[in-house]
């Protein structure tokens, strides 16, 4: 155990119209850890992300991040604490250029009044160029983001996440719709990111999870079914049961 928990969920439950989306969920992530979350559709993976990022308030339970209570904060405050989120469907600002997308993501100015007078500094330009390099989007810097390919949008969004310089990245199905080569490149990128930041990846693609080579948490019906190394978890009869159907 290297250090104490960066992110901790304890006894979290949330109900939508009588349907228990998350049921007494507990989960803990160490500083610098990368974790893969898997589970069938409706297991509560996205709702869990919603709870961590402040989009959904849990009915009960504790959600803490680096000593802060997340249930009392809204999305913007949580993002400013250092949690970045990548959506399943790539969401970038399509009407803006790739460069402007990254500029908006840069950690720093967030107040609208400050932005009114802000000009891009040389330091910011340097950071943007670095991000363009990491995401291999330098040739497309001035293209409207709406014109990028699906995979490029995924990468742009990851770039924006890095621009935020978060302590923790939540990544929702980053390789959905990617080619094999893109998938492997993404796994490399995430491992690279994990050198400096903690990462939670929600993913269906077992090959990708294997490529990441990290600990796995299996969610089922809103709670943790199994946790551990991929080999151990995939041998667990309960997991097999859930994945192969009853």
């Amino acid at each position: 155990m290297s250090g104490e928990a960066l992110l901790e969920l304890r006894g979290v439950s949330v109900t939508f119209d009588g349907f228990r989306a998350i049921n007494d969920l507990s989960l803990s992530l160490r500083q610098g850890e990368m974790r893969a979350i898997v589970g069938p559709n409706g297991a509560g993976k996205t709702t869990m992300m919603d709870i961590i990022t402040g989009k959904t308030r849990p009915d009960t339970g504790v959600v803490r991040f680096a000593g802060h209570d997340l249930t009392k904060r809204d999305e913007a405050a949580i993002a400013r604490l250092g949690i970045g989120r990548k959506f399943q469907k790539p969401t970038v600002f399509e009407a803006l250029s790739v460069r402007d997308n990254l500029l908006l993501s840069l950690k720093g100015l967030r107040s609208p009044f400050a932005l009114l007078l802000a000009r891009e500094t040389a330091e910011e330009a340097g950071r943007i160029d670095a991000l363009l390099g990491i995401t291999r989007l330098a040739p497309h810097a001035r293209v409207q983001a709406g014109g990028l390919s699906h995979g490029q949008k995924q990468w742009l969004e990851i770039g924006m996440l890095l621009g935020q310089e978060p302590q923790l990245l939540l990544v929702d199905e980053p390789v959905a719709g990617m080619t094999d080569a893109e998938t492997m490149a993404t796994a490399d990128l995430l491992r690279d990111i994990n050198r400096t930041r903690s990462v939670v990846v929600v993913e269906h693609d077992m090959e990708f999870v294997r490529a990441l080579g990290v600990g796995v948490t299996v969610l089922h019906e809103g709670s943790v079914l199994a946790e551990g190394a991929l080999e151990a978890v995939s041998a667990d009869p309960r997991v097999i049961d859930v994945y192969l159907g009853r």
């Binding site: 990022t53 989009k55 809204d74 999305e75 913007a76 993002a79 400013r80 970045g84 989120r85 959506f87 969401t91 970038v92 600002f93 399509e94 009407a95 803006l96 250029s97 402007d100 500029l103 908006l104 993501s105 100015l109 967030r110 107040s111 609208p112 009044f113 932005l115 009114l116 802000a118 000009r119 891009e120 001035r142 409207q144 709406g146 924006m160 935020q164």
Partner: protein, 373 residues
């Protein structure tokens, strides 16, 4: 590049507004015998169009750049107009029908004995100027704060903006509110000692309107052009994404919403100065919706488009209602339908499209990707 292109468009349109206004103003000062003479009626009409253009600019700022479809912006326009109207009514002084030096005619008629408290100070031009901005601004701030904080958006916001202006219309129709009921405020005589009926005053007001409009266009352009403008587009197209980046779209929207209300309010004040009357009809929901179609026709999300749309549609309305009054509503209705179906980028978008096909190097238009829900 995109920014510079749009910036040039705004400057060009603003310059055109100034030149045309100056020509009309000069023409109105020529003797009627001169073939280049312009009738005072045309000067008033032009002034009215420019006031409407301010309203269109305000609507475009929130709809085109932050995705808030307001159906109640005429409320801010009318409130600004009423604030100016209060001052102009007080300027009448003892020259009213009842000759009461302290009370406007309609209050004498209602046999009120003294001015209501909210009329205090309305005879000072500076107070009037503050009221023109403060009242609509405060209402917009309160309304926006409540709405954006609770994340009321999309059509819900549209519906309650409409309800807001409707409620204000009902309220201003009430005699007891102290703003002249049905008739509103009218019969103005002069402003700062200048006779409102003199061609010189009218020409001057037209020039002032053009200057204010041009200034508002450039200021708006500065607002939407820089880094803040990028954030606006981001909020318009993917509001929740900006939250996860750590921005608060509600604050952004509130700031733009209030700025927009202020522009509309100034437009309303200019309108009253030149048209010479303000009544509760200006609050009618239909007016607000009409101002949206000006923007749609001109080109949503382009500042020049808002101005061009307001002037063109109102010019059309003037001509139509003079020649074929019964056909105007068909025309306006068809305009709504045709614009949304066939001209989603408006005239400016159409112009750029043609330009682009002629010259492929021209950069893309920042087009709204969809409606921020």
């Amino acid at each position: 590049m995109t920014g510079e292109f749009a910036f040039r468009g705004v400057v060009r349109t603003a310059a055109a507004v100034l030149v045309v206004a100056a020509l009309l103003a000069l023409g109105s000062l020529l003797p009627a015998s001169n073939p280049l003479s312009v009738s005072p009626f045309v000067v008033t009409l032009a002034g009215k169009y420019l006031a409407y253009a301010m309203l269109a600019l305000a609507v475009d700022l929130v709809w085109g750049f932050v995705g808030i479809l307001t159906l109640g912006h005429a409320a801010f326009f009318a409130l600004g107009g009423y604030a100016m109207g209060m001052y102009l009514v007080r300027e009448i002084g003892a020259r009213g029908v009842y000759g009461n030096p302290d009370l406007p005619d309609f209050m004498v008629f209602l046999s009120w004995k003294s001015l209501p408290w909210y009329w205090w100070g309305s005879d000072h031009v500076l107070v009037a100027a503050v009221l023109v901005l403060a009242v609509p601004g405060a209402l917009a701030a309160l309304f926006g704060w409540l709405a954006f904080r609770s994340r009321v958006g999309g059509v819900y916001l549209s519906i309650i903006t409409q309800a807001l202006t409707y409620a204000l219309m009902l309220a201003f129709f009430q005699n007891g509110l102290g703003f002249g009921g049905n008739n509103g405020l009218t019969d103005f005589k002069d402003v700062l000692g200048f006779d409102l009926h003199q061609p010189g005053t009218r020409a001057g007001l037209l020039i002032i309107s053009a200057l204010v409009l041009a200034g508002a266009m450039l200021a708006t352009r500065a607002l939407v052009g820089g880094r803040f403008g990028r954030l606006l587009i981001a909020v318009r197209d993917a509001q929740s994404r900006t939250r996860f980046l750590g921005y608060r779209p509600d604050q952004v929207k509130l700031l733009v919403w209030v700025a927009s209300a202020l522009i509309a309010a100034v437009g309303g004040a200019l309108y009253v100065l030149q048209v010479g009357i303000i009544n509760p009809g200006e609050f009618a929901p239909a007016n607000s919706i009409e101002s949206v179609i000006w923007v749609a026709v001109g080109g949503r999300g382009t500042l020049s488009g808002a101005v061009i749309g307001a002037v063109l549609v109102n010019l059309g309305k003037t001509l139509f209602t003079a020649w074929l009054p019964e056909l105007w509503l068909y025309g306006l209705g068809a305009l709504f339908i045709a614009t949304t179906l066939f001209l989603p980028q408006g005239l400016v978008g159409l112009g750029r499209h043609i330009n682009r096909r002629r010259d492929e190097v021209t950069p893309e238009v920042t087009r709204p990707a969809g409606d921020a829900a």
